[in-house]
Amino acid sequence: MTELLLPLTVLAPLAAAVILFLSAGRLPARQAGPLATAAVGLSAIISTLLAVIVLSAPPSAPIRITLWNWMTLPGFPAEIAFALDPLSLLMILIVTIVGFLIHLYAIRYMQNDPDTARFFGSMTLFVAAMLVLVLSSDLLCLFIGWEGVGLCSWLLIGFWYTDPANTAAARKAFLITRTGDAALLCGLLLLATRTGTLRIDTLLQAVTSGQIPPAPLTAVALLLLTGALAKSAQIPFQSWLPDAMAGPTPTSALIHAATMVTAGIYLIARLHVLFAATPAVMTLMAVIGTLTLLMAACNALVQTDLKRILAWSTVSQLGYMFLALGTGIWQAALFHLMTHAFFKALLFLTAGAIIERVRHERNIFHMGGLLRATPGLAAAFLTGAAALAGLPLITAGFYSKELILSSVWQATFPVGGGLALSGHVLWSLALAGAFLTTLYIFRCFFIVFSGPPQTEISGTTPRLMTIPLACLSLLSLLGGIVEMPDTLAPVHLFTRMLDPSHPLPHTSDPAWLLLAGALTPIAGLALAWTLWGSANPVIREAPVPTPGAHRVLTARTVESRWRPGIVPDALFLRPLRILNRIGRYDLPDRLSDSISRALCRASTLAAQTRTSLIAHLSSRTLRITREGSLLLGRMQNGRVRWYAAWIATGLCATLAAAMLA
């Protein structure tokens, strides 16, 4: 039963994608959306079914299905094989359910677009690729999905290809992730040559049994981490994600919530045993996560584009997840991934609806006062914002973030050489990040929804779009109760499900730790209210580059076009561009061309020389002849005396010759 259902999960969206692409231009636009939604919905139903089967009777070992042998090499088998364990199960649930809601939403959202077939084809392919990624039991097979999501993100970000900026953003996303992919591929090659297999379970056994020496293992971990960082838009690869807002809003929701960026988290969680064996890499991961979450939160605080704020918030939340992964509590990372998927999808879809209502205006300072016009959207956005900020007790985000924070507090991060980084430092930084998170998301909320209306609001949000919003709001609020801190209630359903054999060590956390985590968002909310939300807000106008509260937080000018990706651009794209400029000419080609041209010129020259030489000689001969004849002619001038003189001269000469001889 499960053996049959598992491939079907992937097959349904894949088939929809193939049908949609093959039907290019034939299938009526109205049918493309429902078809895709139905396929993803089918997939979601199957996943739910699988979840019921698996959870009702937890099997001792993961369910494995080998579809076929991909390549067989001496000492290296590669298979197309799926495996279902709780981790995969969680992922496919998130991907299919959130994906389904997003598709549902997109039916109406993309109704008027002429190219819905391509859109939904790419979307379903995206889901299919992500499912392949999370289901594969073989890293090489995982790589298919890994590249597949990159490809689909490129297709979708550049969906509106008539604007070159969109395709440029799409290419940037693909190239940066592709750079990470190359690193990942190198890591896979290293693993494959070391262990002779890329099957995940065999691989992890090899790691635990110490089959790989530490140095290659660290190299593998670093390479895999690079791939994951690029896919999840962490420092230094973060610049592609905000640009990816160029795509349609459902795409953004899909990329940020369900697919694409979670792939990196999933990979590391999947290989957590391998990473656990390399503590230095873990520390690096945690540090990068912390830095990213702070940096992205600061960026989000100064953006004016609604979608960009959300994009940076995604980078920031992914930073939390990497922090959790670096700490070693991958369950917490996945818990946050799940709640994040709910509220981020909610936020994006709401944002899309808002933007549609205000005539595609994306600058938050041109909105305002939307609360009265769109109370439903405001409620949805507030729910999402609250979950993102992690307002205590009532939101899912609180529980997941709290789990991460409390674990970080207790962890230590070995740096190497006996030194270790205390978890307290990272905890305080992460807490500051949480504060900033609340600040920026409620800044956004207050600016958009309160205050005087700045723009005309038109139309209504269709019911088909509100249903997903409602579902996601519910999930954002209640999704967190599956796992609670011990201080509140000992509910550990989530972590138990993920890893029944190794439950998280729940030491007695001090109560103030929880309190700090709970109070920080509230403090942030209060500050945001003071600054932007109250009747007499401190800051109301669109931020201009003047010294003020904003200048404290960012050293650069505050513009919506501000590109925090400058450093990675300089790192990756500029050298490529320079190389491109250098490579405008094919050097050997030039060389052979110039040689041939030189030969040609030389032969021409030789021919010319020859011709001119001959011409010169002939003309000279001609002249000598002519002059000689003239001379002779002058001798024959008919003057007797001259003849006599010539005779005498000849006589002289003859005599002289005779005598000298």
């Binding site: 692409f21 290019a24 231009g25 076929w68 042998n69 991909w70 390549m71 067989t72 090499l73 001496p74 290296f76 197309i80 002429p114 190219d115 077939a117 391509r118 090489l140 790589f143 298919i144 890994w146 590249e147 597949g148 490809l151 490129w154 550049g158 290809y161 008539t162 604007d163 070159p164 395709t167 799409a170 290419r171 693909f174 190239l175 592709r178 750079t179 992919d181 190359a182 591929l185 190198c186 090659l189 290293l190 494959a192 040559t193 490529l576 190389l579 491109n580 490579g583 405008r584 094919d586 050997p588 080609d589 060389l591 052979s592 061309d593």
Partner: protein, 502 residues
């Protein structure tokens, strides 16, 4: 009765008939395209023949599938010797799979002297077939030259604006290196004559020639350079972009899809099999050249604005993988190289077909002047995106399978080279995306877009190529198993040289 000689002779005979039929036509302006029809029939017959050959019971149990041998010039020890192993068979299939779409899609539009065109086209195919089958070195050289001359004429007469220069370049490079090949063949045969006292050009006999290491290296290089020119390897690749760009569509497809493969085939069959030790010594250089080709081709490709030129440079990049795989010294690399050859033939051939049909419709190859094709021709654009994506090495498609195997084999030899080659994949993404975002998913451009998409049958042909690529990418195992080259030492049965004792 073995059908091997028929396989070789059928295309050129069909071509001759096509030519004559076209000449005897009274009103040349009016289609029916007699030559085209005859060509099509010829190719279908050839396919049937190859089918029969594929499923024929092998006459002897060895890895060689079929033999054919007749004396040709006995005093010099030259035979007409054709042998087929898995490698030849798979490359022959590639030849047919590519030439059929070529004829179906690209050659019907030929208006100037269609008879001659089809004759030359089929003559090239004959030459290629012969090259893949010949195991007498002299005969091999004969076919090697045979496939070159018609291609030269094809470029010279039916090419695009700068065809004369391109054709001359092509001819000079390949002909010049062909001379080296002849010298090496003679050198090997004469060495064998000195050692054993009888003159032969038989591949299997010559494989057993005892050679000093230095001589072996010299001869190996003598074989390597012409194959490297054909493949092409980076410093001697300069003929390729021009030839591919200027050739007519069908010739571009033949060049990229099949003719380049003769280089790879030659390297496997002659360099690796005849001189294993010398090849192993030479491997570091060849690997470096291959990786340099990968990076350089991709880099150059990123810079092009001419569609066909971009594809041509991407070929250099892809064939760098082939070279790297061949010289990586392991079976995995060899298999990867073969898979890469097949996949590259399909993907690049299809891209050239698409570029050719675009040029037919829009009369330009300049990417800056083409754009927004998806809106008007979504099916062709979809195919274009698919093949571009295949060409950037998307896992699950044929190219990735080959590239992965090559990288895998290379990593065992030298991880830094493998990392560099993997960097080539990033560059591949750049040029492939540039191609797609330059013409298909791009803002509308000055050149007027055609209003009609290509008809369904043509898309179906491209679709079949896509299916081949997907199968090659997802299930390459049977191909890997079937296309393994056979070593020269295990030949048995009636193919054994019988003139060894004069």
């Amino acid at each position: 009765m073995t059908p091997l000689p028929a396989l070789v002779l059928l295309p050129v005979l069909g071509g001759a008939i096509a030519w004559l039929a076209d000449r005897s036509r009274t009103r040349p302006e009016q289609p029916p395209p007699v030559a085209w029809l005859i060509t099509l029939i010829t190719l279908i017959l050839e396919t049937a023949l190859l089918l029969a050959e594929t499923f024929r019971q092998s006459p002897d149990p060895g890895p060689w599938l079929d033999h054919f041998s007749r004396p040709w010039i006995p005093p010099l020890g030259i035979d007409v010797r054709l042998d087929m192993d898995g490698l030849s068979l798979s490359l022959l299939w590639l030849t047919l799979i590519l030439s059929l779409p070529c004829v179906l899609l690209a050659t019907r539009q030929i208006r100037t002297r269609p008879g001659l065109f089809h004759f030359l086209f089929l003559a090239t195919i004959s030459g290629v077939t012969g090259t893949f089958l010949a195991t007498d070195l002299f005969l091999f050289f004969f076919f090697w030259e045979l496939m070159l001359v018609p291609m030269f004429v094809l470029i010279l007469i039916w090419g695009h604006e700068d065809r004369h220069r391109a054709a001359m370049k092509f001819f000079l490079f390949t002909q010049g290196s062909g001379l080296l090949l002849l010298l090496s063949i003679l050198g090997l045969a004469i060495t064998h004559f000195r050692e054993t006292g009888f003159l032969t050009f038989n591949y299997f006999t010559l494989a057993a020639t005892p050679l000093s290491p230095a001589l072996s290296m010299v001869l190996m290089l003598g074989f390597f350079i012409p194959f490297a020119v054909k493949l092409p390897v980076i410093p001697v690749h300069v003929w390729l972009p021009d030839a591919h760009t200027q050739a007519p569509t069908a010739a571009s497809v033949l060049l990229a899809g099949i003719l380049l493969k003769t280089g790879g085939y030659g390297m496997i069959r002659f360099n690796i099999m005849l001189f294993p030790e010398a090849a192993a010594h030479f491997a570091p250089v060849a690997l470096s050249l291959g990786v340099a080709g990968i990076l350089y081709g991709a880099w150059m490709s990123c810079q092009q604005n001419d569609i066909k030129r971009l594809i041509a440079y991407s070929s250099i990049s892809h064939l760098g993988f082939v070279l790297t795989g061949i010289f990586s010294g392991s079976q995995a690399g060899m298999q990867g190289a073969i898979i890469q050859m097949l996949a590259h033939g399909l993907s690049t051939g299809a891209l050239f077909l698409i570029a050719g049909s675009l040029q037919d419709r829009m009369h330009t190859r300049d990417m800056t002047r083409i754009g927004g094709l998806w809106a008007t021709m979504p099916r062709l654009s979809g195919a274009g995106v698919f093949f571009a994506v295949a060409s950037l090495g998307m896992p699950g498609l044929g190219n990735f399978a080959g590239e992965f195997l090559v990288l895998f084999a290379t990593w065992r030899v030298s991880p830094p080279l493998a990392i560099l080659a993997a960097t080539g994949l990033v560059l591949a993404a750049i040029y492939a995306l540039k191609l797609v975002n330059g013409i298909f998913l791009a803002p509308a451009a000055p050149a007027p877009s055609p209003t009609k998409d290509v008809p369904t049958p043509q898309i179906a042909i491209l679709g079949s190529l896509m299916i081949f690529l997907v199968i090659l990418g997802l299930y390459p195992r049977p191909f890997i198993a079937a296309s393994a080259p056979s070593p020269p030492s295990v030949v048995t049965g009636k193919g054994e040289p019988n003139h060894a004792h004069p």
